[in-house]
Amino acid sequence: MRREELRALVLEALAHIAPEVDAQALDPAKPLRGQVDLDSMDWLNFLVGLHERLGVEIPESDYARLGTVDQIVAYLAEKLAL
């Protein structure tokens, strides 16, 4: 899987939780939770969605590394050894 596919998958998982989000308008380098209204239940459901799609375990202690879309993609790529 290439990075672009991974990014598309992240945005798809996000759209599932927050359908009102315009993926084109998101700044991938800015904090995601500042741009999208995600409470902790939404956030958890988003991560569960990524887990279900990719089979990746995301421990709570790694949340700090998942601030922006770019960071989430980089984190998942690392976990999947892409």
Partner: protein, 353 residues
């Protein structure tokens, strides 16, 4: 013959729109089975039947808006064959022209009750049903829905503020132990079973209701009626605006993991549609958690006919402000203070929640 009526799915619901039947004539209906989907200003709600029977006839058509209490369908009680059973066969008669027109318009003619001779379904019946099905041409659905929801919230909250003499209390609750426990617990749980702090708030509130029962129940016909079970309504904001407060049933009896699953499930269904009627009407107390926005303290408005609402603000520096809005007709400040104290105490022993 059992009459299935338009239910009241909220304190101020006056009418509802039938979206879909989940049963057809001849089907057996079990107690608690979802039989219809009704649209209210707040959500499309799956409505259960609380009486068993066999579907005799469906009187309301999908697309029809009917007042609360209107008969939507009739069931034959178990063992009842009924002389009226013959009538239902007559109703199933469809003229060939009506059948053709139904196929053209995509209408299920079998599900219609006819106005023709001996209850036969006519072309006019089919066209009327098709028209009822068709989307209203006026404003976009979301705009109408948002305006209706605003009106429904306005009605319920105005009634609350008009009728309920609220009193308000606040207590700062230390959360260091709960947060440490949560962190350790989540580190060992798979992601699909991870907990959020709101689940602890819901469970602690429910257990506190067991200690101070004046907070749990309904004020009806001039008197407080305590509820035997504790069904906690959870305020959930909808992404398109507005909110709903569906209930998690029997919270004290549920292990924390199950409360969490129920909470996640309610949030998902509240936003995607598919809440049950019993979830919208059964709450005996409500919890609102607004802290994620950064707000420190929330003094909520009680959802009538309930008598109490517990609010949680932002978790900051290992603390949270818990508040109580309570109905002075049902309890006094002293009992309210004991109730908040019980919540605070229960949150100090998260492993026992």
């Amino acid at each position: 013959m059992i009459e299935f009526r338009m239910p009241a799915l909220g304190a101020d619901m006056e009418s509802g729109k039938l979206l879909e039947w989940k049963v057809k004539p001849g089907d057996t209906v079990r107690r608690g089975q979802v039989v219809a989907v009704i649209e209210t200003p707040k959500a499309a709600v799956e409505v259960e039947s609380w009486q068993e029977g066999v579907v005799h006839e469906l009187l309301a058509q999908p697309g029809e808006t009917l007042p609360v209490g209107a008969v939507l369908a009739r069931w034959r009680a178990p063992g009842e064959t009924g002389t009226e059973a013959a009538a239902s066969e007559a109703r199933a008669r469809i003229s060939p022209a009506a059948r053709r027109r139904a196929a053209e318009l995509g209408v299920d003619a079998e599900a219609l009750s006819g106005s023709g001779s001996q209850g036969a379904v006519t072309v006019a019946d089919v066209e009327r049903a098709a028209k009822a099905h068709a989307p209203a041409p006026q404003a976009p659905a979301e705009v109408v829905r948002a305006a209706e929801m605003r009106r429904a919230i306005a009605a319920a909250m105005s009634r609350s503020k008009r009728e309920i003499p609220h009193y308000y209390l606040a207590e700062t609750v230390p959360l260091a132990r709960a947060l440490a426990w949560l962190e350790a617990e989540n580190a060992r749980r798979p992601i699909t079973e991870r907990l959020v702090i709101a689940a602890l708030f819901v469970k602690a509130t429910a257990l506190a209701c067991r200690e101070i029962p004046e907070m749990n129940g309904h004020f009806l016909d001039g008197a407080f009626r305590p509820a035997a079970a504790v069904h906690v309504g959870v305020a959930i904001s909808l992404r398109a605006g507005g909110l709903v407060a569906p209930a998690i049933h029997d919270v004290p009896e549920k292990p924390l993991g199950e409360v969490m699953r129920a909470l996640g499930d309610l949030v998902r269904r509240a936003r995607a549609g598919g809440l049950r009627a019993s979830e919208l009407t059964d709450a005996t107390i409500t919890v609102t958690s607004l802290g994620e926005t950064g707000v420190e303290t929330v003094f909520g408005v009680i959802h009538p006919p309930q008598v109490a609402l517990v609010g949680f603000g932002a978790v900051r520096e290992g603390r949270v402000v818990a508040t109580l809005s309570a109905d002075h007709r049902a309890s006094d400040g002293h009992r309210g203070a004991l109730f908040l104290g019980a919540i605070a105490r229960l949150l100090q022993e998260p492993e026992r929640l």
